[in-house]
Amino acid sequence: MRDPVRLQAEDFSQDDEVTALKASSQCMGGIATFLGCARDFSEGRSVSEINFDAYGSMALAEMIRLREEAIQKFDLIDARIVHRVTTVRAGDNIVFIAAGAAHRGPAFDACRWMIDELKKRVPIWKKEITSEGESWVTEHP
């Protein structure tokens, strides 16, 4: 079973991640997931590729902290966070988050919290490659 928090270039399987989450306990009544994927359009421009850069060791440490905080804050049974750091095309997977709890409320809340916090706290940057050139995204919507 792969680590619950990972930064990796290769694609991930949502099914595999949920299977791994469920394997940790049969007490989960609710599992909420978030999948972030690459869009082909941003701020009026057609996007052909998105390139990610990361301060790898700091990003991974922060994602591990995020997962631990989420488990504590929302009384989760388990959680998983996977973020790709590579170049992706429209439609490709970027980030996956899963939160498992006894009930659906905390699972939903934790899932949203984790992606919101990841965007604020984890040192990862994305650059959009468009027909008009390349530009780093500096705001996190």
């Binding site: 990862i124 940057w125 650059k127 780093w136 500096t138």
Partner: protein, 79 residues
């Protein structure tokens, strides 16, 4: 030696991902900031955070130790 790392937009802005600064006793983060600004005057236009040994530091009077790693970080855009 103080190792200074740059990533993403900051690295592209100054066309470098890493530089080394000779450590001297009593050196502070402000000293490193001043040296980097002297070499790359516009870099702090896009730097939002500074990390020392992977922890965000807000106080530029923070004393550094030999072999510390400083990273200049733009606003994050992961996820």
């Amino acid at each position: 030696m103080i190792r200074v790392l740059f990533f993403g937009p900051v690295a592209d802005h100054i066309d470098t991902r890493e530089m080394n600064i000779e450590f001297s006793s009593g050196m502070t983060l402000q000293d490193v900031v001043a040296m980097i600004t002297a070499q790359y005057p516009t870099v702090f236009d896009i730097v939002s955070f500074i990390a020392v040994n992977q922890k965000q530091v807000h106080d530029h009077k923070t004393q550094l130790s030999d072999n510390d790693v400083v990273a200049l970080l733009a606003k994050f855009s992961g996820g």
